[in-house]
């Protein structure tokens, strides 16, 4: 009777365990094994080459490191510019203000759209084919024709354009989490600070920021993890790696796998990239813990 009951209980988790094991855990573990092989993904023979793939990534693959630098640059802009805008907007909404719900509803529209849609819609606004470029037209009409520029086809500005469109898509998400965090700060604190004669700046520096540190850390970690792995936006906006100028790690892995058929090497890239991401979020978590304890 006991055994039958336990088996019955296993039945409840069985579908979840089977699907998760086959389509999530096995590929996850398999990546580690494949990363030590030289394999084109088709031939039955794989060549075991120990850590050669990883060695190649570190010392012989400048295109990989360029992709890492590019992703780092986009992430830096997302961390600073995008999150600063998100925080300011959240501060602006965290008060007795009309239309708060309206603002919140609108700001979260870009985050629910797909990266492909956002990339392609913005391409139409800032590309230079056929004189489409609305931004350039606006610059001309406000009397700044010297600033007219081919934003996407100039290697110098393409990556920054990608980063800004990415920020456009992402700020509403940070805004939402920051606002939720701000609303947990008791309003009595504000009253008390005012009675004590604290200025708005003091209140911001001594009360809001320290209380918001945990939320800021979570947003920062998720921004890093999300932005480093973003790539579909670039496909929609630019169309591809643009000779490396807009390449990012996931686009590299896809190219190595699909164009060069080097499956083992693509897995090794995936692992080293994943390890870096885990390390970053771990360091950030530790730092914030120390800050909170201090």
């Amino acid at each position: 009777m006991r055994i039958k009951s336990t088996l019955e209980n296993y039945f409840f988790i069985l579908p979840a365990v089977i699907i998760f094991a086959i389509f999530y855990i096995i590929p996850f573990l398999w990546v580690f094994q494949l990363s030590m092989f030289d394999w084109d993904g088709i031939l039955p023979t794989k060549t075991f080459i120990w850590f050669q793939n990883f060695k190649e990534i570190v010392i012989q693959d400048p295109s990989w490191w360029q992709a890492m630098r590019n992703a780092g640059y986009i992430t830096l802009i997302a961390l600073t510019f995008q999150n600063a805008v998100a925080f300011l907007l959240a501060l602006a909404c965290d008060r007795e203000i009309k239309m708060k719900n309206f603002y919140r509803a609108i700001f979260f529209i870009p985050p629910v759209l797909s990266e492909i849609v956002v990339g392609m819609a913005w391409r139409f606004i800032i590309s230079d084919v056929d004189g489409a470029n609305i931004i350039n037209r606006m610059l001309v009409s406000v009397g700044l024709p010297q600033l007219v520029h081919n934003w996407l086809s100039d290697p110098k500005t393409a990556l920054t354009t990608v980063a800004l469109v990415h920020s456009w898509k992402g700020f509403g998400w940070g805004f939402l989490i920051f606002l939720a965090g701000l609303q947990t700060i008791p309003k009595e604190l504000y009253e008390a600070a005012r009675v004590d004669g604290a200025s708005a700046w003091d209140y911001f520096k001594k009360i809001i920021i320290p209380l918001m540190v945990p939320v800021i850390v979570v947003v920062a970690i998720l921004t890093i993890l999300g932005t480093m792995q973003a790539f579909a936006l670039i496909l929609g906006l630019v169309g591809g790696e643009f000779a490396g100028h807009t390449s990012v790690p996931v686009l590299r892995i896809l190219a190595v796998m699909r164009d060069s058929s080097r499956f083992g090497y693509a897995c090794a890239q995936g692992i080293s990239f994943g390890a870096i991401l885990v390390a970053i979020s771990f360091i950030q978590y530790r730092l914030s813990k120390r800050y909170r304890e201090a």
Partner: protein, 282 residues
């Protein structure tokens, strides 16, 4: 002492500036989308001369062309089919598992649950490479079933976590009453637990639906046949084919984006909750 009029004026001025800031961001959010919709009603000839947001003439033929000549109706139905299948699968499978993790006893319960949660927190951006080979071996690549099963596995962890925390709050008396009435475990899951978890199920449904509708990378490595592709994948193909036929492209984009925006506007509350629960893992 400064007069109260001074403070009143200051307050009005600050409010004005705050609204100005917020409204300019609203404009920045909406302009590209309104521009996208407006352009989908223009022609290749007028799209660059008529830059107003309300076209002088509405050309619906772009939508007609997108659906009839470029098969967008087909891609749309594919996306709808994948989204409904995956969400249905996730709801059934994850709610059963979450109920067991919360209420039923069996050896290894905590370990298995931890594996589900931990796997989600370790990013391996290259696992789609192995998934590609695995699906080939199982003859599931380039099949709807392969895509649906993969997408279910992607959504499971979060949904199980969300539902388990909800079931943990369910009063024991509810179950006990059903058990006395002779309900089986499956019956309790179906008639007591599921109705109780409606708010959490709504979050799971809406959040996963958005996820599947917007998914790209698995659709890229799984599908070769055009007639199986979902919208996101079709858009990128479309982009290559009609790179300069902007009105047609914008019609395709609008077809893809509008359902999401409408669902979002009606289901806002649940999406906001989903985002909040996402941050728990940070």
């Amino acid at each position: 002492m400064k007069s109260s009029i001074y403070y009143q004026t200051k307050k009005v001025a600050i409010n004005f500036l705050v609204h100005l800031f917020l409204l300019s961001m609203v404009l920045l959010c909406l302009y590209p989308l309104l521009w996208m919709v407006a352009s989908s009603f223009k022609t290749q000839a007028t799209i660059f001369s008529d830059i107003s947001l309300i076209p002088r003439q509405f050309h619906f033929e772009n939508y007609y062309l997108a659906v009839s000549k470029s098969d967008f109706g087909r891609y749309f139905l594919n996306s709808v089919f994948y989204t409904i299948s995956v969400v249905f699968g996730i709801v059934v499978i994850s709610s059963m598992a979450a109920y067991a993790f919360s209420r039923l006893k069996f050896p290894g319960r905590n370990i298995i649950f931890t594996v589900f949660i931990a796997a989600m927190m370790i990013p391996i951006p290259g696992s789609f490479v192995a998934l590609f080979i695995l699906l080939n071996k199982l003859h599931l690549r380039n099949t709807p079933l392969g895509y649906i099963l993969c997408m279910i596995s992607v959504g499971l962890s979060m949904s199980i976590f969300l539902l388990k925390t909800f079931f943990d709050k369910m009063p024991r008396e509810l179950e006990d009453a059903a058990r006395i009435d002779g309900c089986s475990k499956l019956g309790i899951w179906r008639h007591v637990a599921l109705p109780f978890a409606k708010p959490a199920l709504a979050v799971v449904i809406v959040f996963n639906a958005l996820n599947v509708w917007n998914e790209y990378v698995l659709a890229l490595i799984i599908f070769d046949s055009k007639n199986l592709m979902p919208l996101q994948r079709a858009l990128m193909m479309f982009r290559g084919e009609f790179l300069t036929n902007y009105p047609l492209l914008m019609a395709g984009l609008t077809i893809t984006a509008l359902p999401i925006i409408i669902v979002y506007l009606f289901m806002q509350k649940y999406i906001v909750k989903g985002v909040a629960s996402q941050t728990v893992f940070g």
